[in-house]
């Protein structure tokens, strides 16, 4: 391996796996709380997937493979600290094996895990304090006040970003001048990454909210609505889900996608609420974000959505449990659900063919009813 300029110095350059457009949030966390420089993962390509798949165990779920590919490419480009986020499911173990694999491959990286295990004790939100303790273990200089002020900004930007993204998803198919939404949204992300206070974040949000909400659209009164639910990584990372949102946006469809960091982040800690919203289909925690998915599906079906697409990485066991329940729900409400499983070998064309058939079916069902 070539030794780059960055690796000779002891400066810490951190890399976090890509997860949708949340790079600005994780960068904020790493830069401001830990004081590391951050390096965005190189844009994902087929090579990322191939690297990830080659060095991962075959039974592991797709996020492991993709993030391993991310890390190898980042290490090639000179990152020396790799940061993984834990929180739910087996994500908290990923770094143990990924570190071993990177070591075996000869990359000299430090590996850190943030929030490897945050239990949901009695339905309480875990514990911003836990997060603080976890970060302070890495950076002893971090004071509580400083962490809370950073966390506030991060939370504010996450909620704002998710609001704008959700608004955009619902309307992007109907915009009159193509590309307007995306331009404003990308500008927002650019500016929001540098905010220093909640007030500043609010100002920027207000500015772009106005811009985005006033984009000219030509939306029918009752457009076809398609919901996207499923495992959160695959839902929010367009590269992992073969860009299904973009595909749908070209077809005059209103996309309803409730999973994002802000709503899922709040939802999974309020389990009793989720179980109440699932219409009696579930009684207990079934793991990871699957309860949230069931609750979302039930709300969508009660609202009379036209169709739902369920996405998950291969071998995701909470979602597989959830699928048995979704099948019953789909039958009871007579609303179609298409199940898509994504792995490193999934062909985009294949997925698009299935989407096309599903879209045709949903429109035909609408005309018939």
């Amino acid at each position: 391996m070539e030794i780059t300029e960055n690796m000779k110095t002891t400066e810490k350059i951190a890399c976090v796996p890509t997860a949708g457009d949340y790079g600005i949030i994780t960068d904020m966390l790493i830069q401001r709380c830990l004081g590391y420089k951050t390096m965005p993962c190189p844009p994902m390509t087929k090579r990322t997937l191939e690297l990830g798949a080659r060095y991962s165990p075959d039974m592991i779920c797709t996020p492991f493979k993709i993030s391993l590919g991310n890390f190898i490419e980042a290490a090639e480009n000179g990152a020396n600290v790799i940061i993984m986020l834990g929180i739910v499911c087996r994500l908290g173990f990923f770094d143990i094996l990924q570190k071993q694999i990177l070591d075996d491959l000869g990359y000299d990286c430090e590996m850190l895990i943030l929030f490897d295990y945050l239990p949901t004790v009695s339905g309480e939100f875990p514990t911003i304090n836990n997060m603080y303790e976890c970060l302070r273990a890495i950076n002893p200089d971090l004071t509580k006040e400083k962490f809370y002020s950073i966390f506030e900004i991060m939370a504010k930007v996450t909620f704002d970003k998710d609001y704008l993204a959700d608004f955009m998803r619902r309307n992007i198919a109907f915009e009159v001048h193509k590309g307007e939404y995306e331009k404003h949204y990308n500008d927002y992300l650019q500016e929001a990454g540098n905010v220093q206070s909640v007030i500043e974040a609010e100002e920027i949000f207000a500015k772009y909210k106005e811009k985005i909400e006033s984009v000219a659209i030509n939306k029918p009164e009752k457009p076809i609505q398609i919901g996207i639910i499923g495992e959160i990584y695959v839902v929010i990372e367009p590269f992992a889900n073969c860009n299904i949102e973009k595909w749908l946006a070209k077809r005059k469809v209103e996309i309803i996608r409730p999973s994002d960091w802000s709503s899922t982040g709040v939802a999974i800690w309020s389990l009793p609420e989720l179980i109440k919203n699932s219409g009696g289909y579930v009684n207990y925690n079934i793991g990871s974000t699957a309860n949230d998915v069931i609750a979302q599906a039930h709300q969508m079906m009660k609202g009379g959505i036209d169709g739902i697409i369920h996405v998950k990485p291969a071998s995701c066991s909470p979602e597989i449990t959830g699928m048995s329940i979704l099948q019953n729900m789909s039958r009871d409400y007579n609303i179609p659900i298409m199940y898509l499983t994504f792995d490193t070998g999934t062909s985009e064309t294949g997925v698009h063919t299935r989407l096309e058939a599903f879209y045709d079916m949903v429109t035909m069902k609408r005309e018939r009813d």
Partner: protein, 303 residues
């Protein structure tokens, strides 16, 4: 009242406790037979195709029992404390059964220490559902626990004896519901025994001891309770055996990570990694086991 107990998943961890508890309360139970072809077929037909094979087997056992008893015993255990979680499959199992067999009546209890639901509490709940009062259930539970613990200790002693004896020995790294199941691990262990190889299990170890051993290398990082115990077993018994056999079902999350980790970290013992699903040909696995036996024996000659 007849209670059906599926011989799958949690059964293999707790059967001594469960069966003695019901026996102490004078309640009739029926345990489904060892997994056979019909049960596997029933499970496969009633599960999502991507579900793990162990969970399909469980569904098969529930399907077998549905018309042979009044209620099926489907408890769920989510955790036994902080950083001691079970697999999502195991804590999703009650909702899975309810949605797969809506007509099957389930006797169930919930163990979730983080939400204040303890194991004795769960047994009292079961007792209540069966019309027994609190003190009766508690007594039955305590007696059953004593019996179960003494059986467990005897097993550990027996295994330690086996490990200190002469002869070729292997260590099985697998969840109990895989290593003892007739459709998964039993054929494999039987094959080794038939070939005069002694078989020890990584999960037959004192729980506290296993936890300490695991924490020595990983701290409290491994919050999957079953796997943490097995890793403790590997640490303890590794030097007494000639080879390690990993058995897992497709697709198992914790196993995917930790079997790869073992293979990468243990350099001084031969390791055989067997992954089983409903399509496996037994002949292929047998060939692999035969060559593994040759490897172990050849190493012995060399040393």
């Amino acid at each position: 009242m007849k209670i059906g107990i599926p011989r799958a998943l949690l059964y293999y961890f707790h059967h001594d406790l469960w069966l003695n508890f019901f026996k102490n309360l004078n309640i009739e139970t029926i345990v489904s037979p060892e997994t056979n072809k019909a049960i596997v077929e029933m499970g496969v037909n009633n599960s999502i195709d991507e579900a793990c094979f162990s969970s399909k087997i469980f569904i098969g056992h529930v399907g077998y029992l549905q018309d042979k008893c009044n209620v099926v015993f489907v408890p769920r255990i989510e955790n036994t404390g902080i950083r001691e979680e079970y697999c999502t499959r195991i804590f999703g199992v009650y909702d899975l059964v309810r949605n797969t067999f809506p007509n099957v009546k389930c006797l169930h209890a919930d163990v979730n220490y983080l939400y204040g639901k303890s194991e004795p509490g769960a047994f009292i709940e079961i007792g209540e559902a069966l019309g027994k009062d609190k003190s009766e259930s508690l007594e039955a539970y305590n007696n059953a626990l004593l019996t179960a613990n003494s059986i467990k200790e005897a097993k550990i002693l027996q295994q330690e004896k086996l490990l200190n004896s002469n002869g070729t020995k292997i260590l099985i790294f697998a969840h109990a519901y895989n290593s003892y199941d007739a459709a998964v691990g039993k054929e494999i262990t039987d094959f080794f025994i038939d070939n005069n190889i002694k078989v020890a299990y990584a999960d037959v170890i004192n729980e506290k001891e296993a936890q300490l051993l695991t924490q020595k290398s990983y701290g409290k990082r491994i919050y999957c309770r079953v796997t943490a115990q097995q890793i403790g077993g590997i640490k303890k018994y590794k030097d007494n055996v000639d080879g390690i056999v990993i058995i897992s079902t497709f697709p198992c999350g914790p196993d995917a990570i930790f079997s790869e980790l073992l293979i990468r970290q243990i350099k001084d013992k031969p390791i055989l990694n067997i992954v089983i699903d409903e399509l496996d040909s037994k002949a292929g696995i047998q060939t692999r086991m035969e060559s593994f036996i040759d490897i172990i024996n050849n190493r012995e000659v060399k040393h």
